[in-house]
Amino acid sequence: MKIALFATCIVDAMYPEVAQATVTVLRRLGHEVIFPLGQSCCGQMHINSGKFAQAEPVIANHVRAFTNTEWDAAVAPSASCVASLGHQQPLIARRMGNEALAEAAAEVSERTYELTQFLTDVLGVTDAAADLGSYFPHRVTYHPSCHGMRLLRLGDRQSSLVRSVEGIDLVELPLADSCCGFGGTFSVKNPEVSSAMLADKVRTIQATAADVCTGGDASCLLHIGGGISRFERTGRFEGAPDITAVHVKETSSTTVGNEGSEHLTAVVGADDDDHRTPGEDGSAPVEPSRVQAGFRVGQATVHLARILASTKEDPLRVPSEGAAVSGGSLR
C-alpha cells in the first residue's frame, strides 16, 4: 500500500522521532510511505480558538497537500488531528461558505487514519510482538487522549496494541479517562484550571511507578511530560493551588503483565470514611490527599509509535537506562 504520512505540526516541529517511528512501523509491514511536502497543520488550533477565518487557509493547505499526490491511505500519529480532519474541517469550511473545500476535506478525511486505527482496522495487526517485532521490557502506563476516546472511538485499539508488545509491563493508569488539561489554547487561556487538571494527571502517573507514560497524541504527552518535569525539578505543582481531591490507593495485589505488581485505583473526592474536612471536629488540618503509592523520579512520556518501533535489535531506552529526557519527554 502507498501510505501518505500526515506528521502533524507538533510532531514535525517538536518530535521528529515520532514521525520516524511511524514510518519505521509502516515500512516494517512492507508498505511504501510518502510524505506530502506541502502539509503543515490540520487547523485545529485556530478552529478551537474560534479563529475560523484564519483556519480556512490552513484547512485548504492540508487538502491541497493531500490531493496533490496519489496515495491509498493517509496515517497520522495523532487521534486529535485525525479527528479534526473529519469532525471540524468540513464543518468550518462550510461555516466560511466554502462548500468545495468542505467536500474535498471530507474526502481526504475519509481516507486518513490514526496510527493504531490503521494498524488494527485496515492492516489487521493485533499482536505487536508477532507482527512488528515490538519489544519494550519496561513498566508502562497509558493515557488515552480525549479525542481518541470520544471523537474517534478508538476503544482499546491503542492499549491492546501496546499490551501486545513483548516484555511490556502495562499498568493501568487510575482515572485514565480524565483529561490531562491540555486542550490547546485552553492551557494558556485558563492556565490555572489547566494546571490543576495536569497536576492530578501527574499524581496518578507517579502512583503507577511506571518508567514511562505512553499515549497516541504528542500534544497531550508534551503537556503531561512538561508537568512531570516541572514537578521533578521543583518538588511541587506550580501554576495552580496545590490542592487535589484525587486519592490514589493500592487496592489489591494482583499480577499485572509479566511481573507481580500492585493494582492501583483512584477515586475523586474522598471515601465516606475519610470524607472529613481538614479541621473538622477539632482534628488537626491535614494535607488532604497526597499520592500514596510508589513514586519514581525520572519518569517521562513517550508516544506509542516509538514503543511499537522498538525491537530487540534496536531497543528504545528508558530513563533508568540513561536515556535522555527533555522537558519530561523521552528523547
Binding site: S40, H46, Q54, D177, P288, G327
Partner: protein, 502 residues
Amino acid sequence: MTFLGMPLLPPKRRQQTDLPGGQGNIIEPESFPDVSHQHLSNQQLRNNIGHATSTIREKRADVVAELDDWEALREAGARTKNEVMANLPEYLTQFEEAFSAAGGIVHWARDADEANAIVTDLVADNAPVLENGRREVIKVKSMATQEIGLNEHLETAGIDAFETDLAELIVQLGEDKPSHILVPAIHRNRDEIRDIFMDKMPDAGQLTNEPAVLAEAARRHLRHKFLTTKVAISGANFGIAETGSLGVVESEGNGRMCLTLPETLITVMGIEKLLPRFADLEVFLQLLPRSSTGERMNPYTSFWTGRAEGDGPQNVHLVLLDNGRTRALADEHGRTALNCIRCSACMNVCPVYERTGGHAYGSTYPGPIGAILSPLLTGVEEQGNGSLPYASSLCGACYDVCPVKINIPEILVHLRGEDVQANHSPVSSQLDAALTGASWMMSDGKRMTATEKGLPLAHAVTRGEQINALPGIAGAWTSSRDIPALPNKSFRQLWAEEEGEK
C-alpha cells in the same frame, strides 16, 4: 501596546442581532479565569465536589448500563426536543389553549423584569399581609426563578419567599448562591449547615451535624409553612403541548406539598420546556432521573392540568418566560442548547467544573451547559459571558453523557467564533497576534518549511536545553510545564535529507 512590533488594536465590534438578550442571573461578572481563580484554591470545595460528582457519576453509569436501548432513548430525546424547537410557536399556542381550557391562566414574559412583575402582582392579589406587614410564599426548587432573581425581587416588594427544597433552603438561609443545579449546596459541609440552621431557623434549637438531625430540623421548619401559606411558586420540568399539563420531578416530596396544599399556584417555565405529547414522557422520564440523580425513577413526579374542581390549588397560573431563549433559538449553530432538561450530568463529568465549582460560572447555569447557555441567552458581548466558551478543554465528556445529545464541545467552539467576531481583532492580544502569525505560516507548506529552517539556530540559541520559562503569553504555558529541547531538525528536514541521499 505592541506585540512583535505589531500594534495591538482594539477589537472591531460586530453587528449585533436585534433579538433581545436575557437578563438576571445568567451573567459572568468578570472573565472566567479571574472568577475561577477565587475558587480554585478552596480545598473544602474540591473535596465536596469531588465526592459528590464521583458518587453521582458512578450511580449514573450503573443505571444507564442497565438499559440496552440507552442510545436509542438519547436519540429519541434529541429528536423530540429538536421537533419542539423547530415548531415552538405552534406548540406554545397549542399548550396555551389546552392549559386555559383546563382553567389555568397563562402569562407571557419577555424577560426577567416582566416575569418578576407578573409574579409580584399575582402574589399581591392572592397572599394576605401577615402581622409583620409582609406577605409569604413557598417555593418549589426552580431554575427559572433562580435565573430571573425572583426571590430577591419579591423581597423588595415586601414578599418573603421560602425555599422548600432542603438544599435550596440551606443556600437561602446561608444568603448564598447555588453552585450545582441538582445539589445546590454542594459547596457546604455538615458543620456549616448546622451553623446556618441554628443561626437562621428561629425554632431550630440545639443541633448536631448528623444528617438525620439536620433533615428533621428542616422538616419541622417547613411543615408549618406548607400548612399555612396561601401561595406557592414552582418551576416545571415539562409542559405537555397536547394536554396543557405541567410536570415537576423531585426527590423530597416538598415540591408535591407546595403543588397541592396552597390555594394559588404560580409556575414560571421557560418556553423551551415543552414536549409535544404526553406519550413523550415515556422517553424523558427514563432519561432524566437516570442522568440526574442516577436513579431508575425519582421518588415524586407531579403533573397537573390547569385547575381540578375541589382538589388542589383553585387559582392556577403559568408565566411563560423568554429571557433570551428566542435569541438562542435564532442561533442555528447553538439552538440545541435549548434541548437541555437540566439533569446536571454534564457538570458531574466535567474536569473544569470539578475544580472550579459552580460559582465560577457566575450564572444560575454552571458547568458545560452553562458555558454555552449563558452566552447564548445574553450574547457573548455581555460582561464576562464571552469568556465562558473557553472554560473547557473540549475533552468531550459532557457530550457523551448528555441525555438529549447536545453537542456541547461543538457549540463551545461555535461560541468562541462568536466571541472572536464580537470581541477580538487579529491582533487584539498576544495570543490573537500569535495565532494570526501561525495562520499565515501554516497556510503554506513552504512557509512552514522555511520557518523550520530556523530550528538549528533556535536549537543553538537554547543550547539544546529544555525550556523552563518564557515571557508573555507563553509564560502561561511555562507557569506549570517545562518544554522539551527543540530538535535540531524538523521531521521534514530529516525526510528531505534522507530522500536526497537515495
